[in-house]
């Protein structure tokens, strides 16, 4: 197989499956269930996952694969994110199979769009050329814009999609502008060449501006404050399983790009961007948590919580490259497990119509649905960061990285924030276990059956959250290997690493 084809095999498989689904969609009569298309999507994701594992095998044997004139690079770093994205998509698809209660004619598009989005995200993490990254970003963004408005005919859904689209295009424009400035300063858009070019550039101001622009563009994608304003509205209007997907997978991809860009392309500006990152981190943590305190709507609450979590992850950028990469890899995995899990439970509880919205609606849920309540409680505890859950280790690694690189004040701000955060999670958690039942819950049928795929998805997320909390060793080894390799960039990043050691 040609190396070019091999490098893009997972993406190609996903895209092909997506196209197949689009083609098969009209063949199914209107009114019939679209479930087979969902199973097809799951098969495609599985195949893509297997392709990633095959790549891992190759990379282990003979080092990173580069393709398409060194614009694509498959290394342990990209493989980690490929696997993560594939798992998130798989779990989301499993949970979405029965999401469309009345056969909706456009359900097939949903599965195809999820796959196209995943293609874009994977593409983002394996590109080492900024224009390629931009193409991946656009593919994933456009799919998620449509997914956000998938519950057609609802005001909130249209608001969600439109807001996401307008602000999202604005942010990608910033990103593109950053790339252009980078090209202006260095004459290249390849990450390795940028790193070399920035060292000798005559116009460092352009380089600075480029870093700032890229940070704005990606800051929007990871919903870091002050680029977060879209998050609550979009999450509120989008279908719950889609929120689970888009609060984790595109964020993971954006963080991967940010890691590659900051540590491999612009290491010589580290002292500058570290300040910007610290500001973003403090703003995200504080605004996210304080904003969440005021929320009554559970999805909005989790939206603000995801802003805060983006802030925690940004804290890790203060560390040296190796530590930052492994920490963020771990945190994105842990966050994906618990957040997707939480949204899956919400999907199960409130259904397509989302009858349960506010915290008060959830009062006394444990009396009616003890199993799902216990799961939601567990995910919330992990989001708080209670020990023996993935969330705790994520937080632990992030803040120990900050302390390690001398940013103790960031750790204090962050952990004080996590103290504030537990207030709103607990409000939901105690509501679940309170008496009496609200009328809304009492009216819903108590035998909301959990189908096998959903049970599988829930078990997988819960098991992942628990395993990351009790036995983080294995995944940690994987993440510690994942430092992006780029020959030129590494030689540049070495001195900065020693600076970070104080």
């Amino acid at each position: 197989m040609s190396p070019n084809l091999l490098a893009l095999l997972p993406e190609l498989l996903l895209a092909l499956t997506g196209v197949l689904i689009m083609l098969a969609e009209p063949l199914i009569a209107p009114g019939r269930t679209r479930k087979p298309l969902g199973w097809l999507a799951i098969l495609g994701t599985l195949a893509s996952g297997i392709a990633v594992l095959y790549q891992l095998h190759l990379v282990n044997a003979s080092g990173p694969i580069t393709a398409f004139y060194s614009t694509i690079q498959i290394d342990a770093f990209s493989i980690f994110f490929h696997l993560l994205i594939a798992s998130i998509v798989l779990v989301t698809l499993l949970a979405s199979l029965d999401y469309f209660q009345n056969p909706i004619t456009h359900a097939g598009e949903y599965f195809a769009l999820v796959l196209f989005g995943a293609t874009g995200m994977m593409f983002m993490t394996s590109s080492v050329e900024l224009l390629m990254v931009f193409i991946g970003l656009e593919i994933s963004s456009i799919s998620t814009y449509i997914l956000a408005g998938f519950r057609k005919g609802r005001a909130t859904a249209s608001e969600s999609a439109l807001k996401y689209f307008l602000l999202g295009s604005f942010a990608t424009a910033f990103f593109l502008y950053g790339i252009a400035l980078c090209f202006g300063a260095t004459g290249s858009t390849s990450i390795a060449a940028i790193a070399a070019g920035l060292a000798i550039t005559k116009t460092p101001l352009l380089g600075w501006l480029a870093v700032a622009m890229v940070l704005i563009g990606l800051g929007f994608k990871v919903s870091a404050a002050p680029f977060h304003v879209w998050t609550p509205d979009v999450y509120q209007g989008a279908p719950a399983p889609v929120v689970g997907l888009m609060s984790t997978a595109p964020k993971a991809a954006a963080f991967a790009v940010l890691l590659r860009f900051l540590f491999n392309a612009t290491p010589i500006y580290r002292s500058h961007w570290i300040l910007l990152i610290a500001i973003l981190a403090v703003a995200s943590m504080t605004i996210g948590n304080l904003g969440a305190l005021l929320q009554r709507d559970v999805k909005r609450l989790l939206a603000y919580s995801s802003i805060a979590h983006a802030g925690y992850m940004l804290v890790a950028f203060t560390a040296a490259q190796h530590e930052a990469v492994s920490t963020i890899c771990f945190y994105t995995a842990a966050y994906a497990a618990m957040n997707v899990g939480a949204f899956l439970v919400l999907t199960q509880l409130s259904g397509f119509d989302e009858k349960l919205r506010t915290i008060d609606d959830f009062t006394g849920l444990a009396l009616k649905r003890p199993g799902l309540s216990a799961l939601l409680g567990f995910f919330l505890l992990s989001l708080i960061g209670i020990p023996f859950t993935g969330g705790f280790f994520g937080k632990f690694y992030v803040f120990s990285a900050a302390v390690h690189s001398g940013y103790t004040w960031l750790a204090i701000v962050g952990l004080a924030n996590s103290g504030i955060a537990c207030f709103y999670y607990l409000r939901l958690l105690t509501a679940l276990y309170s008496r009496p039942l609200t009328d809304t819950i009492a009216d819903t049928p108590s035998t909301g059956r959990i189908t096998f795929p959903v049970a599988l998805a829930l078990t997988a997320t819960a098991a992942a959250t628990l395993c990351l909390g009790i036995l983080p060793n294995r995944i940690l080894h994987l993440t510690q290997r994942a430092t992006p390799t780029s020959t030129i960039a590494q030689s540049v990043s070495a001195p900065t690493a020693t600076i970070a050691q104080r």
Binding site: G377, L381, I386, P387, F388, A411, G419, L426, T430, N473
Partner: protein
């Protein structure tokens, strides 16, 4: 089979396995209210745990060197950062473990009738709480300890939120959690900072580094770090100005939960971690903590005096009692430390007995307002007897356990070299008087005098066989611990003697008994001397001395 290296893991794993098992047993669908299967399961699990913990005092080595741990288990858990699964026990934690295991079955019995609905949830959470508490007492890896420390908040919060008595329960639960969690978050920064400094989470290593002055950081940084530790623990105790959560949590929590709510976890953590890792900084903080302790005693007693709600009275009486412990341990005298640790056991037992009794009263009459009570002694003679016995133990009647602890603490305070000791000792001793007054006044108002509104309306009944079973172990322990305190003191003293005194740069110090002017190399000898001369042991400050020269 030699159980020693495995016993601590077994002690934690038993309630954990029990909790998982109870979570898997479905609730009795035919008889949802009144199903006893989960209660019976929890009772068996807790009794078995108690049996396992008794292995510790039976095989404890009293002649081990100071600062060493027994029944150790030390396995690697996470390679980077270096986190180990390190468990161990010494004279400080041994009896606390037994105590925690002892209170559990009584807690189950006390919930037997009061918890009728959602028994599965209740007993699962109760056993999880047990796991977290036992874990706190045995963990010797700072990270592992922190895990259990935070875990202990969750079941308790849910217990309060779910089974609280009034509509205020959710607020009380969140308040409890926030009060404990925010300082704990800062504690995590301190732990991370320490790890960054030393590269280890292991308590023994950290202790050795600290006592050899090898923590390479500025004094200010170390002081801030020690404050982070101390504040996190002090909130959980609670120490006087940080007790805001106590009243609400105590008022709301069901009996079984309230028995383990305050006191021992925080106090143990101070003794183990603050004193262990920050010996000097803790001594610098001692004058403040002694003052807060003395104020806490008087303040708690005075507020208890004016409370008419029995549970609120109990909350402030708890505050007064834990303040007594704080006063004792921060004197850094052998007497004070021994008395303080002993008083942790007393306070937990007396407090637990008191809460069980209050729960029984509430079961019968449905109110905690003591103005509605009165004249119960003739109708409920056994109940009255037990109440009086508990109250007497609490106020420190000689022959009962409370006296031993309070006496040792007050003698320790008197002997302490910390400034203003006479003032604080006097203040604390005044607190004892207030303590006696609110307790006895409460007894008088509830059990004597004319019949109250509630007690006249509701017939009530005296103790049943199950309730006798709950209360007699307490009564027996009050008496035995009062007359045979050396049984417990022997182990506690190995800790007290190793911790007391002033820290001086030269580690292998000598010890001087300033009463007899005799020097000894072994600080345990001094401790034993003091035990043999309980009355005459006025001065018992053990100083490390350098080459025979007394270092003050």
């Amino acid at each position: 089979m030699n159980l020693d290296p495995l016993i601590l893991t077994l002690i934690i794993a038993t309630p954990l396995a029990g909790a998982i098992l109870l979570a898997l047993i479905p609730e009795d669908a035919a008889n949802p209210d009144g199903s006893k299967r989960h209660a019976i399961g929890a009772l068996l699990v807790t009794l078995f745990t108690l049996l396992l913990t008794l292995h510790l005092p039976a095989h404890f080595n009293y002649h081990a060197a100071p600062h060493t741990f027994q029944f150790e288990q030390d396995l690697p858990w996470i390679s980077s950062p270096a986190i180990r699964y390190h468990l161990g026990v010494d004279g400080l934690s041994m009896w606390l473990i037994v105590l925690a295991a002892f209170l559990a079955p009584i807690g189950v019995l006390a919930s037997w009738k009061t918890i009728q609905t959602r028994t599965k949830l209740f007993y699962t959470l109760f056993l999880l709480q047990q796991v977290a508490m036992l874990g706190i007492f045995v963990a010797l890896d700072l990270f592992l300890y922190y895990g259990f420390w935070e875990l202990s908040l969750v079941p308790m919060t849910l217990l309060i939120a779910t089974f609280g008595r009034t509509e205020n329960r959710r607020r009380a639960a969140i308040k409890f959690f926030l009060y404990a969690f925010i300082p704990s978050a800062i504690l995590l920064v301190a732990i991370l900072w320490l790890y960054n400094l030393t590269g280890t989470f292991d308590l023994s290593t950290l202790q050795a580094l600290a006592s050899a002055h090898q923590l390479a950081a500025t004094p200010t940084a170390l002081l801030l770090c020690s404050i982070a530790f101390l504040v996190a623990f002090a909130v959980k105790v609670p120490v006087f100005p940080l007790h805001g959560w106590l009243q609400d949590a105590v008022t709301e929590a069901p009996t079984a939960a309230v028995m383990v709510l305050a006191g021992k976890l925080g106090l143990y953590s101070i003794l183990r971690f603050s004193f262990g890792i920050f010996p000097e900084q803790s001594r610098h903080a001692a004058p403040i903590l002694i003052a807060l302790g003395a104020i806490g005693i008087v303040y708690g007693s005075l507020i208890a005096l004016i409370k008419t709600d029995l549970k609120k009275l109990a909350a402030f009486s708890t505050l007064a009692h834990v303040s007594f412990v704080i006063l004792g341990i921060f004197t850094f005298t052998i007497l004070g430390l021994d008395g303080g640790v002993f008083q942790i056991l007393n306070e937990s037992l007396i407090g637990a007995a008191f809460f069980v009794l209050l729960g029984l009263l509430y079961e019968r009459y449905g109110t905690y307002d003591m103005r509605d009570y009165g004249g119960l002694a003739t109708r409920l003679p056994w109940m009255a007897t037990m109440f009086v016995l508990t109250a007497l133990a609490a106020v420190g009647l000689p022959m009962l356990n409370g006296f031993v602890g309070e006496f040792l603490i007050l003698s320790g305070t008197m002997a302490s070299i910390v400034a203003h000791h006479v003032l604080w000792t006097t203040l604390a001793a005044t607190g004892v008087i207030f303590g006696a007054s609110y307790m006895l006044w409460m007894i008088q108002r509830v059990f004597y005098g004319s019949l109250g509104i509630r007690s006249a309306e509701v017939p009530g009944w005296d103790l049943t066989a199950r309730e006798h079973l709950e209360l007699w172990p307490f009564a027996a322990l009050f008496l035995i611990m009062g007359v045979a305190s050396p049984l417990w003191m022997r182990a506690i003293d190995t800790y007290g003697a190793a911790t007391a005194g002033k820290v001086v740069e030269i580690a292998p110090g000598w010890y001087k008994n300033t009463e007899t002017n005799a020097y000894s190399v072994n600080n345990q000898e001094l401790g034993r001397w003091c035990l043999d001369h309980p009355g005459g042991c006025k001065v018992s400050v053990g100083f490390h001395v350098a080459a025979g020269k007394e270092a003050r």
